[in-house]
Structure formats: C-alpha cells, structure tokens
Amino acid sequence: WNEPVVMELGAPGRRGITFAAPDSAAAVGPAADLLPPAMRRKSAPVLPEMTEHDTLRHYVRLSQQVLGMVGISLFGTCTMKYNPRVNEALGLRPQMAEIHPLQDPSTLQGLLEIVWNFEQILKALSGMDRFTFQAAGGADAAYTHVCVTRGWLEATGQLGQRDEIVTSIQAHPCNPATAAAGGFKVITLPLEEGGYPSVEALKAAIGPRTAALMINNPDDMGIYNPHMKEWVRLVKEAGGLAFYDHANFNGVMGKIRARDLGFDACMFMLHKTFGGPKGGGGPATGAYGCTEELARFLPKPMVNRTASGFTLDVPENSVGKVREFMGNLHIVMRAYAWARGMGAEGINEASDISVLANNYMEKGLLAIRGVTKSHPDIGGPRMEMTRYSLGTLKEETGIGVGEVANRMTDYGVDAPWLAHEPWLFPEPFTPEAGELWSKEDIDTWVAVVRKVCEEAYANPDLVKSAPHNAAIAKVQGEGCEDPARWATTWRAYLRKHRGGAAQQAAE
C-alpha cells in the first residue's frame, strides 16, 4: 500500500516531542536575543507536525514494506548474516551508547579492551601485525590502504614516482576508485581464460611506477586465482605493496591467511563477514590490517595494551585520519561478540558451510532452463558464491535479470545481487547462501527462480510487469536521470511536479 510521504502527514500545531524551557531562561533572557540577528532563522523549516504515535506508526509501516531478510535474501557479495539480538541489546547499554570518544582513556577501558581483543582475533585470522578500525566501511578500508601507501611512499621518498595501482576488473569498484581518489593511476587487468588475469598480464603491468596491488580473491564469480602467491611475490619484487581486499573472506575463513600469501595488508568487512548488521548499508567497519613495517603509517589513534591499562597512541608516521575519532566501534563490539560466539572452530565451519551451500545451490540453479554460469568451462566447485547469467533466458524470452528479480519478490524472495559494473556476462546475478540460510531456504529460493524462468517462457508479460504482489507497482525510474524530473527532496518534488505548491504552502 502507498504510505504517504511523511511531509504530507500531521497537522499544524501537533507535537511529537517537547523540550522544557530551561529554568535558566530567566537568567539569560530569550534565546533569540542571544543570537546574532542576521543569523536567526526567519521562517520555520517546513517539517511535518506529528504526534509520537503517528511518527512511530509511520516508520513501523515503512519497515513492514521492507522484504529483505523477513523473506529470503541471498544477496551475493554481501554475505547476509543473522545479527544476534543480544549484540543489539548490548549496543543500547549506556556503557556503549552513551560514551564519548574524547573521554579520558581511563574511562573507556572496556571499549579499548574490546578493540584490542578483537584486533588479536583478526591478527590470528590474517597473520597481520596490526589492525585499525577507523575506516567506516570496506571501501574506506581500501582508501585507508591508499593513504597508507602514500605515507609509505612519502617516507621512502617515492611519492610521485610510484604512482600506479594495479587491480583487476573483478575487484570491487572501490579499489580503483579509492586509488584514483588518492591520486594514483589505475591499471585494471582483464580476465583471461582461467577466469582471472594471467601472471603475464600482471608482469606487464608492474614496474618501477607500481605503488600497490589491490586485489580480491576469490572474486565474485567464486573463482580463486591460484597464482596469487606468485602475484604478490612479483608485485613486491617490483617494489610495490600488496593489499588483499578480503571482501569475499567468508569462503576462506580459517583456510588461508593474507600474510601467509605474502600480502602487506588486508581488510575485513565486519558488517559482512563478522555478523555486524547490514542496516541497508552501514554503519559499517572496514578493518584494515598490515605488517609491522606499515603499522607506523596507520591512522591515529591506535589502541595499545600497557601494564597500566589500554592506551590511545599515535603511530610514528601516522597518515592522520580517514574519519573522525576511532571508527564505528559499536560495530567492532558486535564483531567481537560474534567472533567469540563462534570461536575458531565455528568460524572454520561457517566457511565450510558457505562453500557447501553455494555448490549445493549451483546444482539446483544450473538445472533451470535459461540459467548458465560464468565461465561455464571452468570445472570444479566454486567458492562461497557463483556468478550466473540469464543471457540465454533473455535471448529466448526477452526477459532480463532485472525483470526476473522483480518477479521473484512476488514470491517473498528478495532480489539477489546482480553484478558490479562492468557486466562481463549478460544478465548476471550472484546469489550467496553463506552459512545462514538453511537448505530449505535455498531450495525455496531455487524453486522461485525456476518458477519465474518458467513463467518467462510461458507468460513473459507477467514477469515483465512484475512485481504484482509487492508494496508498490514497478517504479518508473527514467526520470531519476533527468534534471527536470529528478527530486531527491520533497521540496524539489513539489517544485518540479506540483508547480511549486511547496513554496506557496511554506509561505
């Protein structure tokens, strides 16, 4: 159903919350007199005027218009996990929710101990020497690597000389993007027959201008590059740093360690692999780890353990900050609790199950007419996800993956992840079952794909016009790219689509 936009709700004079006029009012006089006249607000912001009940009811209703994990969401590359509610309850404790980052460290010992404890866990999982949690997401951790790389180049007098970062077309876009934003030229290696760039291509790309390699493994197609150890050796021989984007860590937890492969640095996504909530995209944490050699460049402050407690210190050659304060430590708290709940065996088993579940799912999906897999010629089991293509379906029925995804939601199954740009295969999609979803859920999911593909052959219009059973009908998104029509705010919408009714109402 169509819940009104909040801007249309309420009525003049309604109040949702009040703030008592301070008893100190008398002492200082009216607030307006304490503000520079030029800077006083002239007209009130045009916000809704609602009661608390109506406000809550509105957002409860909106929450009910979110399918997501209330159904089945195998959102690949995101490793959907259950978020233990005990962690959420802990997060609301005043000892977590109501602490200020600038408190004296003596009053934050519990938090710093959690951070330090968790760092030890990530060290064990990666072989790295230090971790920072300042980066507010995976992309921000990639950026942290770019910053650390610059710091290292500066310290070693190579800044400006080594100005290229090498990556692969299957690396997450954040790798080339943060490299570019950090002032580096990006060299992107294409895939070759094995499903990954060749050693030769890498050799051709690296040299005295190479600052770093930024690479993931396995990639989002579920293909593991078996030459990664050699890659790292080559990059380091060429004088560059090797950074492991561990976005797809779920399939290899406990199985490989970045340091063992020779990497100088790596990153983990705590909101993905370590059970932090997705929240529709953060708050997140990109845990960035590196060797002792690079640790002196890490963002400040770092948590250290001393005889008299945990301290906050500035690394010798710290690159400064990538974000204010210490990061989304409330997510670190959750990740630590998750890791303690799992233990070493649990973590290992989770990666076992995620790879098992993916290969089980693959069997079901490839049995469906219209579904193929990327690099079908590469045999053997994939890792924790597989990339599929509906290219055949599209050719045979005209129905693409977006339409299939829309129709799937009619069956209570949320859309899967498709693929990052550029699409190397037509009509791609990338489900990931992880260790969360049960065999029955996977079976249901596959059955829905089968059903929708069958519908595409039998009744393409039904699929094309989907969804029919969602909160709203299909959105017409073309206007969102048109300056005359897009509207990211209600006031823009009123101006463009309702002839400035906004302005008038406001005045």
Partner: protein, 458 residues
C-alpha cells in the same frame, strides 16, 4: 548455523556429488592453505556466557549517563528519543541490505524522507544519502568544488576542529601527490572568534576552489558575517561551502539563506547515540542544479512514479556517476555508509517538527549561555568568545593557574567529564577547554559543575 547438522551436510554433499566438504576447496592450492590451529580465544557459544562476558567488559567503561559530561567537539550528547531506537532496531531495517525499489520500498521512502527533511533544515533542494562523517563530507565537498572550477586550494577556518581538519587533509592528499588540494587556514578574530575577513580577503585568489566555514564554528561561535564571506568567495569564483550542526537549524538561519553553494554537516545530532563516535554520519546538500548534482559521489534517491497511476516509489538517481558505475572514473568513491542511521534521523526530524527544532535550539542556546555566564562568575575562569555561540563555548583557565588537564582530572574524580582540552591544538588560546551544553543538561548539572570548578580552582 542451520546447515551445521550432519543431516544437512550429508544431504547437500549427496546432491552435489562430492565426497566431503574439503573437496569443495579444490581451487585453493595446497601451498596457500593454512593448516595450523587458529589462535583464537575459546568460543562462548552460549548466549548467557557471552552476554556476561560482554557486560563485564562494557562495565569497565564510565558512561555519560552515570557521569556528567561536557564533552562535544564533533560528537555531542543529545537526547535520543526512544522511538528512534525503536525504529532503527526494527529487524526489517536492521538486518537486510537492500532490494529493488519495490521490495525495499519502505526503506527507500525513509531515505527520501531523511533527505527531504534535512533539505528543509538546511534550505537546499538536492540532498544525497549520507557519507561516513562530517569530516568526510567536507572532503567530498571540497573535491566537488575543485572538480567544478578546476582549482586546487581551499580556505578553511584556522579554528576548525582538528579531527575534521585531519580528515579533510587526507581527502586533499599530501603535497607532492597527484591532484593535491592545498588546505589554507584563515585566522579568527581574537575577540569575537569570527573569521578574520582581512585574512580571508588576503588569501582568496583565483586559485581558491572553495571557502569553507562552519556555523556554528568549532568554538561554538555563530559566524554572523556568513553572508558576507559567501559573497567574497563567490566574487572570486570560489564555491561557498558551509558546515552545520543541523540541530541548530530551528533557531539559526539555513545556509541556503545566506548563499551557501554546498552544505555539509553531521547527522549525529539528529538522534544518534554518541557510541564513542561510531555511527555518526555526514551529509552533502546543495541547490538542485545539474552542475552540482553531477558531481555528487553519494547515492541519491529520487521520488518517481510507478506503473500504478497516483502511486509513488523511489529509485536511485545519478548512480552511474559513482564509483559503482564508473570505477576509477567515478566521483571519489562510494560504499557502505551510515544508511541505517538516516532512518533514525528521519524519525527524529519528523518527531521534532518545526516547533521541536525551535524549542531544542532555544533550550540549547539558553542553557549554554547560562552555563557560560555561571562559569564566568568563577574567579580565574574566562569565557573565550562570550557572545553568540550555540551549544559550545571556550573556557579559559589561565587566570586560575591550572592546566585543563589538571582541571579535568579533578573533575573526573567527581564524576564530571570536563570540556575538551584545546591547549595542544590551539596554543594561542592558552589553557582553554571547549564545553558543550545541550538539552540534556539541567540547571542543577550546571550548578554542580560550577561548584566543582569553584573548588578546583580555589
């Protein structure tokens, strides 16, 4: 883990036709495999044990509910209405990532509402979904400005909060790196704390990509000549970027009214807990002009029609210009941000409404001025910039012959967290601290602080 049972594993292996799970890892070369035992602490598999362990750790923190805190400087203790926690904690919003505009309609609408209400507060029509933090938003805005006019210098207040300044510096890269943008501080007027216009004029040039100011500034001072600063900037072809704390905008003029081209700020004050600095996000807003819109690195949500007449939906707008669409050619980069926080912020803004924002702004202004006035009455204490501040103000202890560190240690012993020590970052201010007073503070709290300080400096 649902499939951890032997039955489930066996059934799946059977379907795959694999002998064991190990065989599924065939892609990983043996010499890549870690075969040791992970050196992790023992599992606390039972929730009761885990909770006890975590509570034991958390209880080693001293929080700002049990203690009385006057810390601010980038993270502030505001009242978080209970429904905000309720909404943000709803399973539907909390656990999932996202779906299609139809399957995820409720979340998209909440995001659009967040942008809409924030747009009303700041007086701008184009608002992106938030970025990691206020500091990051400044970095993005300065880079936007530089891309817009091709210049490579940004003027910022010399009194700018060092955390945000450090982040901005990172976004502007070290000197010598490709694409460096110089960050040039502009002095403040000693008495008022306002930006020194002479210094500004001296530093403004054809190289100036943008002029950044904050309102209120990092010392809490309301920059009364913001419009003039904007005019000066625009006159030299620079973008005028204004950073705000949106909780002030029920009583302070929206930056759109005094000529801001790009507005940035924090969203933490819109209903996010302090969480040691976690969860706070930053935002970017501007006029809805294509020139600006085409430079946003954020995800943007536009309202749009659906196939059903009269129905509205929401979809991504200008996604292709992000790094998701163009990789290294995209605008800066985009990734996970603080999108859950925004839903709480939306509930917060809807709950307050125009009257709530006015009220909370007035309470903060009055209470902080009352606090400053009270502290000014203590011998040895001096208020740095005593007029026209919002929420924060500078207290100088030089006259008391004590360092801020000494004062804060003594306060802490009484369960009071004193203001942020400015002495290291701003030596010119002597032994000064930045005190934040909000709607959570009562007159008794201020009296308690005053009594403690009185005793400490006596």
């Amino acid at each position: 883990m649902a499939n951890a049972t032997p039955e489930a594993k066996a059934a799946m292996l059977r379907a795959i036709g694999a002998p064991d799970i190990e065989s599924l890892f065939a892609q990983i070369p043996a010499e890549h495999r870690f075969r040791g035992k992970l050196d992790l602490p023992p599992a606390l598999a039972s929730e009761v044990a885990l909770k006890r362990h975590m509570l034991g750790l958390l209880q080693k923190n001293a929080d700002c509910e049990q203690n009385l805190s006057f810390l601010g400087a980038g993270i502030w203790q505001h009242h978080v209405p209970a429904i905000v926690d309720e909404v943000v904690g709803r399973t539907e919003f909390l656990t999932s990532v996202w779906g299609t505009p139809m399957s995820d309609h409720g979340r998209n609408q909440a995001w659009f509402e967040f942008c809409s209400m924030l747009g009303e507060l700041v007086g701008m029509e184009f608002v992106g979904l938030p970025v990691y933090s206020w500091g990051c938003a400044i970095g993005n805005a300065v880079r936007m400005a530089s891309r817009l006019n091709g210049r490579r210098e940004v003027l910022v207040p010399a009194g700018m909060d060092p955390e945000r300044l450090d982040v901005l510096r990172q976004y502007c890269e070290p000197k010598g790196s490709h694409g460096h943008i110089a960050v040039v501080p502009v002095a403040w007027e000693k008495a008022s704390g306002f930006l020194d216009l002479d210094d500004l004029k001296a530093k403004l040039s054809d190289k100036t990509a943008g002029v950044y100011i904050e309102n209120p500034g990092s010392f809490g001072v309301i920059e009364a000549r913001a419009a003039e600063i904007g005019k000066l900037a625009r006159a030299r072809g620079a973008e005028f970027i204004v950073g705000v704390d949106p909780i002030s905008l029920g009583v302070l003029a929206p930056p759109g009214d005094y000529g801001a081209d790009i507005v940035v700020g924090t969203i933490q004050t819109l209903g996010a807990h302090m969480m040691a600095g976690g969860g706070a996000g930053g935002f970017l807003a501007s006029r809805d002009e294509e020139r600006y819109a085409r430079e946003y690195p954020t995800l943007n949500i536009s309202i749009a029609p659906t196939d059903k007449p009269g129905e509205h939906g929401f979809a991504l707008s200008l996604a292709h210009q992000s790094s998701y669409g163009m990789r290294e050619e995209g605008k800066d980069w985009t990734g996970n941000s603080v999108y859950l926080t925004t839903i709480g912020c939306a509930a917060y803004m809807a709950l307050l409404g125009p009257q709530g924002f006015r009220e909370v702004g007035e309470v903060i202004v009055q209470r902080s001025h009352h606090a400053a006035k009270t502290l000014a009455g203590i011998k040895g204490l001096r208020i740095g910039f005593p007029c026209g501040f919002f929420k924060e103000f500078v207290v100088n202890f030089d006259g008391a012959g004590k360092t801020v560190a000494q004062v804060n240690d003594a306060l802490r012993a009484q369960g009071i967290f004193g203001g942020r020590d400015l002495s290291a970052d701003f030596p010119a201010l002597g032994q000064s601290a930045l005190y934040a007073v909000t709607e959570v503070h009562t007159a008794e709290d201020i009296a308690r602080l005053a009594a403690a300080l009185q005793e400490i400096v006596a």
